[in-house]
Every structure is written in C-alpha cells, then in structure tokens.
C-alpha cells in the first residue's frame, strides 16, 4: 500500500495531507487524554503500535507471484479507534519512509490515510456492529482486522486511480491498480485477521480488566470467553 516517494503529483499529495491531518490531531488529543486519565491502558497502546511495526515489516509472498505486507492496524483500531491508530500508523510510516525509502515523505499523507485511517475505520465499525449484534467476539475481531487490511489496499488503489486515471479513466485505472494490490492482499488479509484474533484472545486471558476499562467488552462477555477457553 505504500505509494512511493514522488509518485503522487500536485495537487494529490497535498490533498491527502489535508485529509489526514484532522484525524492525526484528534488522535494525538485522545492519546493525551488516555495518558492523563487511563494510564493503565498504555501498555496495550504500546502493543497495538508494536503490532503495526511487526506486521508491516513482514513482506509475505501471496498467490499470484508477488509479495505484499499486512498492515497490523486492525488491533489498534478495535482497541482504540481509528484516530489513535492513525498516529500509530504515522510513526511506522515515518520510520519506513526515512530509513527504508519505503513509501515517502511527500506521499505520507496518502499512506497515513489508507493504512492509518481508512482501514482502521472499517475495522472499528465492524467491531462495533459485531458486538452490538452479539456476534462471537473473536470472529468479529477476525473479520474486522482482515477487512481493515483489505480496505487499506482498496483505498490505495483509489488514491492512485484518482491521480493517474490514464486513458481508461478512473474506473479502468482503479481496476488495474486493484488487480495488483487487492488480489495479492486477500490471502494476507485472512492470515492477518487470524493472528490478530489470536492476540485478542491472549489479551482477554491475561488482562481482561483493560478491555472493560476501555468499554470494549462487558464483564459478562469476558467471563463467558474465559470460561470457554478454560
């Protein structure tokens, strides 16, 4: 999903910076509030960020002969919502842009939007809808994380198609980019969803009080999940 340095012309790179900026500001504000009011959840925030670090560094071979990487943002999105996850994504993307020439400084806004905002927003909404509907928690986390990964790449395809509609127009260009990204990504999204669901299980087992503190799961749901695992 990384749009490489210089691969977004005027005015697109500026537009994506402007679109991403409010989410980052709200995210920083919310992190600040967490630090002041719920210090005990900070280790979980560190884990969510660390997950983005690990998963986005793993370039995995997919089924069509090319490699891509998961995003790892699903966990942060489910736990803390898309704005805070946008800040986590920003940190990773800056690391990769500066040290690895992977992504870029000028394309940072667009990459933050796809990986840090759009994907996590999808995960967050799915998790909220799933818990409200009373669906199995782990299944909900799986679907949320997998679709966050996929949504990120769909958004990257949209961003590139908007900037480079070419002769075929937006739809044709979108199809071409999506064929490169999205198809590669489907198997990786499934793996990512499964791994994040597993980590969620460990959080439920080891530190359930953090999840109630964040109003993510009720005491009774946690009780049920822990009994099922015992």
């Amino acid at each position: 999903m990384h749009i490489m340095e210089g691969f977004l012309p005027d005015p697109w790179w500026q537009i994506w910076f402007l679109v991403s900026l409010p989410f980052i500001i709200v995210g920083l504000y919310r992190i600040n509030k967490l630090v002041q009011e719920k210090r005990e959840v900070l280790p979980l925030l560190a884990v969510a960020g660390a997950f983005v670090f690990v998963l986005s560094s793993l370039k995995l071979p997919s089924f069509n002969g090319s490699c891509s990487h998961p995003t790892g943002t699903g966990l942060g999105a489910v736990l803390f919502g898309p704005c805070i996850t946008a800040v986590l994504g920003l940190i990773v993307l800056i690391f990769q842009a500066i040290f690895l020439a992977h992504g870029g400084i000028t394309t940072l806004g667009a990459n933050v939007f796809s990986m840090g905002i759009a994907g996590p927003a999808v995960a967050y909404l799915i998790y909220k809808a799933g818990t409200r509907a009373g669906a199995n928690t782990y299944a909900t986390v799986f679907v949320a994380a997998a679709l966050a990964d996929l949504a990120t790449y769909v958004v990257t395809s949209i961003q590139l198609a908007l900037a480079f509609p070419g002769a075929t127009g937006f739809v044709g260009a979108f199809t071409a980019f999506a064929a490169i990204f999205a198809v590669t990504q489907i198997p990786l999204a499934i793996i990512e969803g499964a791994v994040i669901a597993l980590v969620f299980k460990y959080i439920v087992q080891l530190k359930p009080e953090i999840l109630t503190r964040l109003n993510l799961l009720s005491e009774s749901t946690i009780q049920k999940l822990r009994e099922a695992a015992a």
Partner: protein, 99 residues
C-alpha cells in the same frame, strides 16, 4: 477446546505456506532467464505508473544501499515491535501469577 484457535491459525498458516510452495513451483518453471518472481506489489504499482510515462517528481533522499541493508532495517523494525509485545505480555503474565 482449549487450543482450538491456536490450532486453526496454525492450520491456516500451513495451508498458506503449502499454496506458496506449489505456486512457486509453477512460477519458477515458467520463468525465463534472468526473470525474477515474487516482487513487491508496491513496486508493481510504481512500474504501472512509470509505464504511462510519469516521472516521480522527487526522489527519496536516502535509500538503503543494498538489499542486505534493507532487510537489516526491516528486521530491526520487526524486532523493536516484537520486543515490546513480548515485554508487555510477559509482565502481564508475571503480574497474574503474583496476584
């Protein structure tokens, strides 16, 4: 089942690896001299854009000088993340035991 989910994830990863090995066999057999498969999708998109005649208007100010150094930095990135995850989960586990 206590480890049902671990088992499901393990099976999923094994299936994933199995399909990769099979696919790799097919792709390698059809590859010409000097061609390389399993490139990055990000580069694939960049190639598609460059094929339309677009020139990136700015270059990265620093690029890892070789594939080895690039993989070093990626490994470092993963190691930082893994350290944090291990530390936090470890301290939670220890906290439960003493509690």
């Amino acid at each position: 089942m206590k480890y049902g989910m671990e088992l499901a994830v393990a099976v999923l990863i094994i299936i994933f690896a199995g399909i990769f090995l099979y696919q790799n066999g097919v792709i390698q057999a059809g590859l010409g001299e000097g061609e390389e498969a399993w490139g990055g999708a990000d580069d694939g998109a960049a190639d598609l854009i460059e094929a339309s005649g677009y020139e990136p208007w700015i270059e990265p100010f620093w690029e890892p000088p070789s594939g080895e150094i690039e993989s070093l930095l990626f490994a470092l990135q993963a190691a930082i993340g893994a350290l944090i995850i291990g530390y936090v989960f470890g301290s939670w586990q220890a906290g439960r035991k003493t509690a």
